[in-house]
Symmetry: C2
Subunit: 401 residues, 2 copies
Amino acid sequence: MNDMKQNECCYQEVLRTLFRVLKPMSSEMIGLEDGLGRVSSASVTASFPRPLFDESVRDGYVIAETTGHGESVQRYRITGEIPAGSPYGKVLGAGTGCRIMTGGCVPEGGSRVIPHEDCREVDGDILVEKKKLSWNIYIRRKGADISEGDVLVGRGILLQAGHLAHLASCGVQKIDVATLPVVGFFCTGSELRHMNERDLENGQKISSNSLLLRGLLDSIGIPCQDFGIIPDNRQSLLDCFLAAKKSNVDVLISTGGMGPGKYDLVEKLFLEAGGNLIFTELGMRPGKSVLFGTLGKTLFFGLPGPPYAVQTLFNLLVVPVVFSLQGLKEQLPRKTTAYLEHDIPVKRSDLLCFKDGVLELRDGKCYVRLADRDESPNCYIMLSAGQLFFKKGEMVEICLA
Amino acid sequence: MNDMKQNECCYQEVLRTLFRVLKPMSSEMIGLEDGLGRVSSASVTASFPRPLFDESVRDGYVIAETTGHGESVQRYRITGEIPAGSPYGKVLGAGTGCRIMTGGCVPEGGSRVIPHEDCREVDGDILVEKKKLSWNIYIRRKGADISEGDVLVGRGILLQAGHLAHLASCGVQKIDVATLPVVGFFCTGSELRHMNERDLENGQKISSNSLLLRGLLDSIGIPCQDFGIIPDNRQSLLDCFLAAKKSNVDVLISTGGMGPGKYDLVEKLFLEAGGNLIFTELGMRPGKSVLFGTLGKTLFFGLPGPPYAVQTLFNLLVVPVVFSLQGLKEQLPRKTTAYLEHDIPVKRSDLLCFKDGVLELRDGKCYVRLADRDESPNCYIMLSAGQLFFKKGEMVEICLA
């Protein structure tokens, strides 16, 4: 509660607070082959140039050009063959040439490659018309793409397959990346049962949030630790908070137990376990009942129970934090605007409201509609406070999921 | 070569051919907890309704309403407490009530929940003004969301975390999904060396395509088998094709060895290994030199060597096939249109040309620009044949990566 007044905080302010509180992960050196989905914590430079040698870009003949002959057809003696991977090993003498393949190493003395289709091979000689000798020499010079020491990938970039291949091609074998944060979670509620339980008694429910959080974390490549289903009693909750505090999780998420009710104990036990609250509600829906604070070195999110709220708040609050912890340069979530596909009436307009949306791109424009119940949202529609009716065709802000 | 004339095939035609040739994967029953990223091969129905019982949606009191009293304030005797997960176990008598929590099970006889804020507790009684008894009874009836047997997720859907939670909440424990295809790959070229090799000799290169393909496959959750780096000689290539044919890979990809050169042996050895060619070039760039065919039960893609072409053709050809094999209902790649951010001149306009693009959404519109070299493309700009200059602001088709 130290630096935000309740009900006054809007979403941007909340994100700023989160980013201010978190302490970036340390970095570690890993093999490039393990780099997919990791965030670079230093810029990466080329260990060697690309290409690494003067390289033929066509199948044909490399020649050591002679000048001043004046004949309309030039003739070069073929002295060998250079397949890719096998250099010639000596200097190409003036007036001679070699068969060469795409990717083959142009020998010293070689001044030009003549593609197959631009010449003829006759009696061990290459015959080429002078007019075929264009400006294009079909040689990619050593370092033409990239020089040794060039920055290949900056700091704070989420590494994808293409980045890794790009780095490998310039001799990079190890990279400095942010350590992956570990996210722990638990679901509170005496009514909750594990999804594989067969016979539910009256009043019991499947804890679908456990599966939801594990899936959401898996989807973004973040390792997780499931602290289980915790019944609504003081001791179980306190034990869980203390176990999480002792563990090495960087972020802890709880679901449920957030109401004003007698069995809604999460806030109390978080404080008893030594937690430091930073905010207890946000000026938005879902989010009116959300805890955020620190428990030792762990960042804690107390989320409400309904799965749609868990998923929305995970994407709007936890994902930005998890990537910011890793030093991602781009700030999440990505926001943009889109045209509403249909009217959306709102019951209460006191707070900013996030709705599950589906963004569709058509005819160069962005359209957004409410997601169906069985549909995965790909964005959240931000319905601003103070407006009770949003009209088809109106432009609204959205956060990409 | 059996059903497409060379140079005549456009991209859509190519995709149609691919989809016609492939045989869908079989299906398997797996635990819901393993379902992330899998494609449903049958529609999934609810094992039980949601909610599973009449459920209070507020913290407050459940009452068995009495009628006809006429007093402005009604009084109900409190006879117990119903936390979530602990049903009352008996019928609630008329004129009595129970404390109940959000998610608590409304007992037989309970006709309405009165939220805390709408009543007072005095001497073990609940006092409620009659005018507070609104139309809203704050009870979510058994099956109000979902009835037993309702279809929760259709066939051919890529399962995400939200789907899994939705299924779990309705008692689904196992799901029928398409078996994951296994994709094998090898990179040809006598000049190629493994990325961890320290000292390259003149003319040698790092095989960055191995890392690229592994990363691209990892990114879409597809298991892969690396058949290694294969030098440009007949026996090594033949052995590799035969090993792949004997293995259980569903799709096989090669890179390199596709030119007209003497050491470009992929097509020849594919045929010698018993392969059946379906096309050998596409009317597009990259793609002018691509093999596609079948080798026993394996689908084979012979891709060219340059990594940008490998990545583009992987996204444009292999990804659609890999998901179509799994019966994904949505056909990939997703196509849309966007406004060019800058002019793009083209050197040759004889063929449809795909360029690495970055799609950006701004002010409700889709803008696309060429990707920088160190940037991961998120789409491919389709520059249609017959046009040498594409103007800033012009609308172009794009395929999302």
